[in-house]
């Protein structure tokens, strides 16, 4: 996938900072995050709950509620246009059109009082200027595209008549209705059972090729990442800690946190023994430890780690790590 990196990126996020202010504390949910997504690639974001991966994604469409959230700085450039400073009306044109979302909860992401068809038609009428009849036909096609059997019938169904997997397909159909350039999928398979999960992931991969869209894929499931992503970004406590292509991440992880994540997966060879865990808990984002946020849980932690925050460094081509001792070695030596 390295050849795509020579292209101009579709999405550039530069030094994004999304903070949440409450009366007596500031939560730095996304703290100086930069990354790119290229045309046609899938970038996976992994991390524990509360590491800022969802907020990063919401920020791209400026979907974080303000207040309490605030964009403290940075730039988000999607297809040449800056999102954070864009007027609301223009942003509404982009949402659902160039930039589409799939959310985690298919059971509650469809409005219960409208027919499936109407919810897809609305997007098409809004962004594609179709009339009712054209939109209706396009909605049937959209359902057909996500392999829903009997689309002519399902368009007239209400959401309650569909199962979770079917609803997630409808959500995908809605998101892809306007052939977006970037699809942001925020844990789209977490709420589904494993067989349905595999079907939905296959479907997303097929559709990605079909309409040549880029995907920003969030998950905390490393096996899903391995199946979906071209490149992987690991986040911890609101910061990017490692960024590399998917094979590198799994074969040569350099950040102790990434290593911890990979080692703590259940594995055939270790069955019967206790799982490896990363000691400790995710730090409170409003009260981060001094120095590197991971230092209190890190096996390779040294005095330097406790004193200062390491920068994200390109240790080998296209492999970025935020650590003073990547792979447990000392950078200085």
């Amino acid at each position: 996938m390295t050849e795509t990196n020579t292209n101009k990126p579709l999405l550039e996020v530069k030094h994004l900072k999304t903070y949440f202010h409450s009366r007596n504390s500031t939560v730095k949910a996304v703290d100086d995050v930069s990354f790119e997504v290229y045309q046609g690639e899938t970038l996976g974001i992994v991390g524990e709950s509360g590491c800022g991966k969802s907020i990063t994604c919401m920020s791209i469409g400026r979907l974080v509620e303000c207040p309490p959230g605030r964009y403290e700085g940075g730039e988000i450039i999607l297809d040449g246009e800056e999102i954070l400073s864009m007027p609301d009306a223009k942003l509404r044109d982009i949402r659902g059109n160039k930039l589409a979302y799939i959310f985690q909860e298919p059971m509650t992401s469809l409005n219960p009082v409208f027919k499936i068809g109407y919810q897809i038609e609305e997007v098409l009428m809004l962004h594609r200027g179709m009339n009712k009849e054209e939109a209706h036909q396009a909605a049937i096609q959209a359902l057909d595209r996500v392999r829903i059997p009997n689309p002519e019938r399902v368009v007239n169904d209400y959401p309650f008549a569909l199962s979770g997997g079917m609803r997630q397909r409808v959500m995908i159909a809605m998101a892809l209705a306007c052939s977006p350039k970037l699809l942001v999928a925020d844990e789209p398979t977490t709420a589904l059972d494993v067989t349905i999960q595999a079907q939905v992931l296959d479907l997303m991969n097929e559709l990605k090729k079909e309409i040549d869209t880029s995907i920003l894929f969030i998950t905390h499931d490393l096996s899903v990442i391995a199946e979906m992503a071209d490149r992987v970004m690991v986040m911890y406590a609101g910061k990017v800690v490692e960024l590399a292509d998917v094979n590198t991440i799994f074969e040569r992880p350099l950040h102790p946190y990434t290593r911890g994540l990979i080692e703590s997966r259940p594995d055939m060879s270790t069955s019967g023994t206790r799982l490896n865990v990363i000691p400790g808990n995710v730090p409170d984002l409003s009260d981060l430890p001094e120095g590197c946020s991971f230092s209190p849980r890190c096996a390779f932690c040294c005095d330097k780690c406790r004193a200062g925050v390491p920068e994200l460094v390109e240790v080998e081509p296209n492999h970025w790590v935020r650590c003073y001792r990547p792979g447990g070695e000392d950078l200085d030596n």
């Binding site: 509404r92 659902g96 059109n97 992401s109 809004l126 007239n156 959500m171 809605m174």
Partner: protein, 296 residues
């Protein structure tokens, strides 16, 4: 003809659409259905009786004042000789008309302000809710008298006054619902699809609170009929000679009539009683039908 499997499925899902479910549960509620039928009969007779009657509403029959009910005047005549049967149903038109108008206006004001407050929250919410509290504090009769003095006494003024004084109830219900609905995932999805605020509120949120508004409106019909009656009885409602149920009772406001001329007050009293009872039972039935979880 054998139905294909698809057709059967289509039929069964159609049967189970939201409003069909509501109607099915309402139909199973015998009291509510009886109330609905009585209400329909009352409304129909209010429309039809004045059209078919051989007397006009304001027509004075010469030499026929204070007549007992008879074959000519089914409910007798009043003290200047007007037929009370036609006046009863014409009065029903006014009473029910006022109730419908007030309820409609009150729901429009309440739903718009309530949804805006609930959707935007924060300062907008605070302002709207404080205003609604101010309106709820007004001493009702005083404001009524004052406003009627300022704007003149007419049915239109009465409708406006009643609507303006009663919107906080529905506004608060709608606000509460919207506050919780706006946090639903599908509203998040709405925002992510680039749907405008106005469209989110009125196209996507409103149908979700419609059920509550319908229940409230039914109950409100009852309370407006009662309020209009009390106001007319006090001489603050619709001015005579226009008949309303309240005005008809007001004409019976002395002991001799109450004791000796039952046809002055029993019929309008019965109509008021029946319609209010039926609206309340229907409202309860609707609430149970719309949200079966609320049943005991």
């Amino acid at each position: 003809m054998t139905e294909t499997r698809d057709e059967i499925i289509r039929k069964s899902t159609k049967e189970d659409s939201y409003w069909r479910g509501v109607w099915r549960r309402l139909r199973a509620n015998r009291m509510a259905m009886i109330s609905l039928v009585i209400l329909i009969l009352i409304v129909l007779s209010c429309i039809v009786v004045p059209m078919l009657s051989r007397y006009e509403t304001y027509e004075v029959i010469p030499g026929a004042a204070n007549q007992k009910p008879s074959a000519q005047n089914w409910l007798g005549t009043d003290k200047i000789g007007r037929d009370l049967f036609v006046r009863l149903f014409y009065g029903g038109r006014i009473s029910l008309g006022v109730a419908v108008a007030v309820t409609a206006l009150e729901c429009v004001i309440g739903v718009v302000l309530g949804s805006v407050a609930g959707y935007f929250g924060g300062i907008v919410d605070t302002i709207v809710m404080r205003i609604s509290e101010i309106f709820m504090c007004f001493p009702f009769l005083m404001i009524c008298i004052t406003l009627q003095t300022i704007f003149g006494k007419s049915i239109r003024t009465l409708i406006l006054i009643l609507a303006v004084l009663s919107w906080p109830g529905i506004a608060r219900i709608v606000r509460g619902q919207i506050l919780s609905l706006r946090e639903m995932d599908y509203m998040e999805a709405c925002r992510a699809l680039g749907i405008s605020n106005r469209r989110q509120i009125f196209t996507h949120l409103f149908p979700n609170v419609l059920a509550y508004v319908i229940v409230y409106a039914t109950m409100s019909m009852a309370s407006v009929i009662l309020t209009e009656t009390s106001l007319s009885f006090l001489g603050l409602g619709v001015s005579p000679p226009t008949p309303t149920w309240g005005n008809l009772i007001q004409e019976a406001r002395n002991l001799t009539i109450l004791q000796n001329k039952w046809w002055y007050w029993i019929p309008p009293g019965t109509m008021i009683f029946l319609s209010i009872l039926c609206f309340n039972i229907l409202g309860d039935g609707l609430r149970d039908a719309i949200d079966p979880k609320m049943q005991k």
